[in-house]
Symmetry: C2
Subunit: 206 residues, 2 copies
């Protein structure tokens, strides 16, 4: 499944230090702008040690992305949402989805993977499958359930799930992708989420 990475190295070990440093540097500055010297320095390791664990810069980058991609998913949230009424369930999902994809860490991940998608296509795909695809699956499952219970009338759950995430990311996500702001304020987030849930409920009313 996850062909990219060996099991996460034990915390505190040299490989872990290296991955940690690589994460910070690559995510903050991008692949091209980070040298192996910089990684070695931040990890308090010699370059030779670095190369002993990761054979090349490419390999280190891949390992780092794989490590970062192991994000939390929305599994538990979607299960909980199914036990609430629609408005609360949608709001719960929207809220956690927003927190998930608009966190500074996630944004940095998007930026670096998107920026190198041309050169590392398999990496982009692995990132997609480990993160966004898994999340979508969960939300589609929720939509199916809502439709089955007749809470809303959702003929195409896949489409509906895509619409919900589109509504939540809306225009804001692009602004964060471009580093035009650091992270959404509580106020802005509420405005977006309330708007998304209201539109969705009214639009899919049974």
């Amino acid at each position: 499944m996850n062909t990219l990475v060996a099991p996460t190295p034990e915390a505190g070990s040299k490989p872990a230090q290296i991955l940690d440093a690589a994460g910070k540097l690559f995510l903050d500055h991008g692949y091209g702008a980070v040298s192996m010297d910089a990684v070695a320095k931040m990890a308090n390791v010699s370059k030779a040690t670095l190369y002993a664990h990761f054979g090349s810069k490419d390999e280190l980058f891949r390992a780092m992305v794989a490590c970062v991609s192991k994000g939390q998913t929305l599994v538990a949230i979607c299960e909980e949402a199914k036990r609430l009424d629609v408005a609360d369930g949608l709001r719960l999902i929207a809220r956690h989805f927003a927190d998930l994809v608009m966190s500074p860490r996630a944004m940095a991940g998007y930026r670096v993977v998107v920026g190198e998608a041309h050169r590392f296509p398999e990496l982009a795909q692995a990132f997609y499958e480990a993160g966004p695809a898994k999340t979508m699956e969960q939300i589609v499952g929720y939509m199916v359930e809502v439709n089955r219970k007749g809470q809303l009338s959702i003929p195409d759950p896949q489409l509906a799930a895509e619409q919900l995430v589109g509504l939540v990311k809306s225009h804001t996500h692009l602004r964060y992708m471009l580093c035009l702001a650091d992270r959404p304020s509580e106020q802005e987030l509420n405005r977006i989420i309330d708007g998304a849930v209201n539109l969705f409920i009214k639009g899919y009313a049974a």
Copy 2:
């Protein structure tokens, strides 16, 4: 306004050749992966000539992005949409917006600017203002008009515009950002656009 770029050089001139080559290479491979030698070679120019016109790689990159950013906007489309009934107007806007932001050229632009947003923040901002921000303005104007005429009930036109673009980009835009597909099929596009327009109209019914 556009502080980034001198007036577009006359077609066929050396600067134009260089910008053209830079565009193809940077957009296809990213900033870090393209050397000045490669640009000079593709432009059929010596490196010295290149540096005579663009003082550094950074400067060339900025000029290229500014050149590419001069995209068409949705001004004419939004004006036309105002003269149609809501469903047709929204569909027209959604359609042209989708064509605009999901074209291979636009996607390549997003990728390279997003990837370098950390290192070229002013560039990201200029790109945003020249493209997405202008487009949003037009769509907001359309929403205001639709609300004024009572065709729909839109209390927050800015929010509604953001929602519409979110619905159209939905999940698909991310997949193209990650190079997971080349461009949406006619069929997929119609499914997304119809879904967006239907949801929007029902959700904002007067």
